[in-house]
């Protein structure tokens, strides 16, 4: 009885482990094939353009709103904190460093994961279950080249652009609160913003953004591509795409920060 219980327990662990390995292997293969096709002609510039507009341009309102409120709340919170040891002057620096190094890329990444990752998984998943992906193959078109590669490239290229805009908007949000509510002198606030900002702060944020863009589109495409069995399968794919992209963003955020740490 006891032994049986232990065996069942072990076999459950084994099953999960094997399934984990299977998924990891499948994802690694998918990633390798996709990246390979990003660099190999023919290139579908029309699809690439459409995806760049979809990811870059149409995400602007969401990302912009996220950024401005984050910048505003940062100014308020850091002011509360720093006022306790009379270091209110650091507010501008804190806002710009937090935005460029952390909040810009992470919040933009999470918002885009919800917006773009979900819609990619749903679109490609629906194409899978309605045999549109099979149809591509029969029309001598490689689905990796036509569907996946342009999306990966568009995500990797457009997220840094979005994050750069988010950085500016976030800093502007901090400036609004700083000057109108906390009583900073505008010229002073702007000077403090620039004073301690280093190129590496912005660059590390943009590197993060690029990696996040890749992860978001990869998860969207991968989960969509693997989806099976009608509406329910597409729903699952969409959920998995958003959840896995969000978690990967947070994990890679730490890893990249570690890499750039103290630089």
């Amino acid at each position: 009885m006891m032994i049986n219980g232990i065996l069942t327990f072990l076999s459950v662990i084994g099953r999960y482990f094997l399934s984990f390995l299977r998924h990891t292997g499948r994802l690694a293969e998918f990633t390798a094939i996709s990246v390979f096709h990003v660099f190999r002609p023919p290139f579908y510039f029309r699809t690439l353009g459409r995806q760049m507009v979809e990811i870059g341009y149409f995400s602007l309102p969401v990302v912009g709103l996220t950024a401005i409120f984050s910048g505003m709340v940062l100014a308020l919170q850091s002011h509360t904190g720093f006022a306790r040891f009379s270091a209110e002057g650091a507010v501008a620096t804190i806002v710009v460093l937090s935005m460029t190094r952390e909040l810009g890329p992470v919040l933009a990444g999470l918002m885009v994961a919800g917006r773009v990752g979900a819609s990619m998984a749903a679109e490609i998943g629906t194409m899978r279950v309605t045999e549109q992906i099979d149809a591509l193959t029969t029309l001598s078109t490689n689905p990796f080249k036509y569907l996946v590669a342009p999306r990966l490239l568009a995500g990797t290229l457009m997220l840094p652009v979005l994050v750069l805009i988010a950085d500016v908007i976030g800093v502007f949000g901090g400036y609004l609160i700083g000057t109108y509510k906390l009583g900073f002198n505008p010229a002073n606030y702007i000077a403090r913003t620039w004073e301690f900002l280093e190129p590496m702060d912005v660059i590390s944020g943009l590197v993060k953004a690029s990696v996040f863009g890749f992860l978001i589109t990869l998860m969207g495409c991968y989960n969509g591509y693997q989806s099976r069995g009608g509406a329910q399968g597409v729903g699952q794919a969409t959920r998995n795409a958003v959840v896995s992209a969000s978690i990967l963003i947070l994990v890679f955020n730490y890893l990249i920060t570690e890499l750039f740490f103290s630089r």
């Binding site: 549109q132 193959t137 029969t138 029309l139 001598s140």
Partner: protein, 258 residues
């Protein structure tokens, strides 16, 4: 006619999913210009057979030859070249809903054959007319069309690049009897115009007798009967008899239990 190389030759095709054997040694020759229809109940592996030929699935063992050339296990690039000879009408039409109707029809021309868009559009409209659709559907989205019209667009897409072999996956499923007959007529006409070889799978006997030169019956992963379409109703094979007359009683018992 002299002994020609079959357009399509299947030998000993096996495919299993886990413990479930779906194809258990399928042998079939399709000669140039011939129209072969594979009949069989749902879940007997008809679609799996088509997917193996199209390279969407890899058979466990066996050989598939197109014009005498082995296509099992060829590279993705080779596959693109071979698939150039193929046209396929999917069961649900499988139109790209992000593209307008004309781009669907012209897809193979633009992406596969690198034809300029303007020229491809003219060709697409020509094909739409050939399947009895008007020019004004060209700029509609596929979701604005009825099921029968979607099937016709699918047919136009399948024949657009003038393929040598066309596959039909249940071409009449989900259509009313009149529309089904219209599609059957279109298939016969288009195939004749192109001089193409066709392989269809269906369980609609009206459709099978209309488009087939030869009929093959798939059951339990094997082709248990192959013969001229004219003999399918008088085959003397009790499995075929039961199927074509649609009787619940007979040697084929539906597996209700899983």
């Amino acid at each position: 006619m002299t002994e020609a190389v079959p357009k399509l030759r299947l030998r000993g095709l096996h495919k299993s999913f886990g413990p479930k054997v779906v194809l258990d040694g399928v042998d079939l020759d399709v000669m140039p210009g011939e129209s072969v229809v594979v009949i069989g109940g749902s879940g007997t592996g008809k679609s799996v057979m088509l997917k193996c030929i199209l390279g969407l699935m890899r058979p466990d063992s066996g050989s598939i030859q197109v014009d005498g050339e082995e296509v099992v296990g060829i590279s993705a690039r080779e596959r693109e070249r071979v698939n150039h000879k193929f046209g396929m009408l999917f069961q649900g039409a499988a139109l790209f809903d992000s593209l307008p109707v004309w781009e669907n029809v012209a897809f193979g021309l633009i992406q596969g054959s690198r034809m300029p868009r303007k020229q491809a559009r003219e060709k697409a409209i020509e094909k739409l007319l050939a399947v009895g659709l008007k020019e004004d559907v060209a700029d509609l989205s596929p979701s604005e069309l009825s099921g029968g019209m979607q099937k016709r667009v699918g047919l136009a897409r399948a024949i657009a690049d003038e393929p040598e072999i066309i596959f039909f996956d249940e071409p009449t499923t989900g259509l009313d009897p009149i529309m089904a007959d219209v599609i059957n007529d279109l298939i016969v006409k288009c195939v004749k115009d192109l001089g193409a070889t066709t392989l269809s799978i269906t369980h609609d006997m009206a459709s099978a007798s209309k488009i087939a030169d030869r009929v093959a019956m798939l059951w339990q992963g094997r082709l248990i009967w192959v013969g001229p379409a004219s003999e399918v109703f008088t085959s003397g094979n009790e499995y075929v008899d039961q199927f074509v007359h649609g009787r619940a009683q007979g040697p084929i018992t539906m597996q209700v239990r899983k």
